[in-house]
Amino acid sequence: MTEHSHPTAGVYLRVAAVLVILTVLEVGVFYVPAFHPVLVPVLVVLSAAKFTLVVMFYMHLKADSRVFTFLFGAPLLLAAVVMVALLFLLLGALTLRGAAGAG
C-alpha cells in the first residue's frame, strides 16, 4: 500500500476544534435575530466548510489519489445539480400554479 505522510494527532485535534467552533457559529446564527436575513447563505457556507474539513482531512481525500476525489466528487456534483433542478421544477411549479393539481 502506498504510504503517504499521515497527519499527526495534532492536525486532527485542530480540525476537531474548528468543527466545534463552526457548529457553535451555526447555532449562534440561528439564535441571533440580527442574522436572520442572511441565515440561509451563512448556514450553507458554514456547513459546507464543516463538510469539506471532514472530507479533506478526516477522510484524507486531500492527500489521497485524485481518483478517489473523482469517484466521490462527480456524483456529489451531480447530486447537487439534481437537487437544484428538483427544487426549481417542484417548488416553482407549486408556487406558480397553486397547490391544486401541482402543475
Binding site: P75, V81, A93, A102, G103
Partner: protein
Amino acid sequence: MKSWLTTTDHKRIGLLYFWTAFSFFLIGGVEALFIRAQLAQPNGHLVTAETYNQLFTMHGTTMVFLALMPLSASFFNYIVPLQIGARDVAFPRLNAFSYWVFLLGGLFLNASWLVGPLFHAGRLNVAPDGGWFGYANLTERQFSPGPNIDFWLLGLQILGISSLAAGFNFIVTILNLRAPGMKMMRVPVFTWMTLVTQFLVITAFPVITVGLVFLMFDRFFGTHFYVSQSGATPILWQHLFWLFGHPEVYILILPAMGIVSDVLPTFARKPLFGYTVVVYSGVLIGFMGWGVWSHHMFSVGLGPIADSVFSATTMLIAVPTGVKIFNWIATLWGGDIRGTTALHFAVGFIAMFIIGGLSGVTHASPPTDLQQTDTYYVVAHIHYVLFGGTIMGLFAGIYYWWPKMTGRLLSETLGKWHFWLQFVGMNVAFFPMHLIGLLGMPRRVYTYAPELGVSDLNLLSTIGAFLIALSILVFVVNLLRSRTHGQRAGNDPWGGATLEWSIPSPPPVYNFSVIPTVANRLPRWKTEHHEPMRDPPAAPPGPIHVPGGSWWPMLAAFGLPILALAPLTHTLWLAFVGAAVLLAGIFLWAFEPFEV
C-alpha cells in the same frame, strides 16, 4: 453441481447470467405474444383487462430488468476481465452475490403470476399491473389494494441491490485490474462502455431506491409521499422514477453500442474509425443522459421553461449518438467485409437504432410529443431502440463471443435464418405502431374499437411478433445444436484484435497463463505501427492461485427475498429472519479466508 452454486469465477457467473437472463427473455417474449394475440383484433377477449395490465407491466419489467440488463451483465462478467487482461473481477464473491440476488429477485417478481390464492385474490395471477414505470397515485394502496404493486416495488428493490453491487465491482475492475500497458485509451470500446454504464448504475439506482421506499412507506405505513390531499404531489414519483429511468435507458443501450464497436472492426478487418471520439461520445452520453429526464413528462404540465430546457437537452444528446453512428459507418467503409451473422446483427443494430433514434428526436419537441405520448408511437420508438438496438446488439455479441465462451461456433446458416426472420419480424411488428399511434390508439389499453381504423395494422403487428418468436426458436435450436454439432472454435475464430482472442476457447480457469503486457490498442493485429503480440503460452510457467468457491454470497443473497416477504405477507418476524440470514452471510463472508 456444487461448484456452480459456490462459483466465484467470472466466466461461470457470466454463463449463469446468460442462461437465467435468456430464460426470462423467453418469459417476457411469451407475455408479448399474449399481448399481441389479444390486440390482433378489435374487441379482443383472449384475456381480461386485469390480466392484460399484468401482461404489459411484466413484459416491460421483465425485459428491462430481468432480460436486457442481465444479458449485458453476462458479457460484462465473461468478457471484460478477458479484454483487460485480468484473471477475474476485483471482488469475485460480490460478483456471485450479484448473480444470486438477481436470480432470487427475478423469481420473487415472477412468483406473483401464481400465488394469487395465497393472498385471497380470487384469481391465480396477482402480477404487478401498474406499468413498468408504476405511476403514483395509481400505485397507492387506495387504488391498488392487492399485493401486485408490492411484488413490483419489493422485487425491484432486490434487483437494485444486485445491480449496485455489480456496478462497484466493475468500476474497480476496469480502473484497477488492467494488464500492464493497458492504458485507458487502449481499452476495447465494449469495456469502456461497460465502465460508463456502471457509473450510470451507481448514480441512478439510489434515486429509484428512494422513490420505491416512499411508495413502500405509503403502501405499508400510511405515509403520504404521493398523496395530493396531504399537500404532496404524485409528480414527485415521476421525477424520481425518470431521474433513474432515463439513465436506465442509456444503461440499456451503451453496452450494446460497445459490442457493436468491437464487432464491426473485426469483420471489416479495419480498426474502429475514431476510437477516441467514440469513447468520448459514450462518456458524454452518460453525463448528458442525466439532463434529459423530464422529456418523459412533457404532458404533465411542467411549464414552458422546463419543457424548453429539457427539449433542448434532449435534442443535444442526439449529437454524440449521431457521431458514433457515423464512426461505425466509416469503420465499415472500405473495409474487407466478412458477412458473418455477428456482423449482420451489428449492422442491423445501426439501421434499427437510427430509426428508433429518429422517432426519439420527434419526441424531443414538446408539441409533437403531446400528440405522440401515451400512444403506440412511443411503443414503436421503445422497441426500435430496445429491440432493434439493444437486443440486436446483444445477439451480435452472442454470435461473436459464444465461441469464446463455449469453444463452439454457432451455425452461420441457422444464424442467417435467425437474423432475417428477426429483422423482418421486428419491422413488421413495430413499424406499423408508428402509424397506429398517430392514428390515435393509446398505449396500455387491453382492446380497441373497430371504428378506430387500426385493426389491420394491429393484425399485421401481431404477425410480426409471431415471426420474431419463430426467429428466436431458430436461435434456440442453433444454441442447443452448437453444443454438440458446433464447429470447434479454437482460440481465435474471427481474427480478433483484442486480448480475449489470445487465449483458448473456453479459457482456462486462470484466463491468461501469463498476464500479457500491452503496447497498443489492437494487440493481436499487425498494423503499420506494430507487430502482433505473442499469445500467452499454452501452459503457465508455474502454479497459478485461483480462489475457490464460497457459499456465503448465496446465503447472504437469500436474506433479501426473505426480508421482502415480511411486508408482503405482513409478517414482522420474517424481517428479523431475513436480516439475520443477510447478516450471517455477510459475517461469514467477511471472515472467510479468501485470497483473490
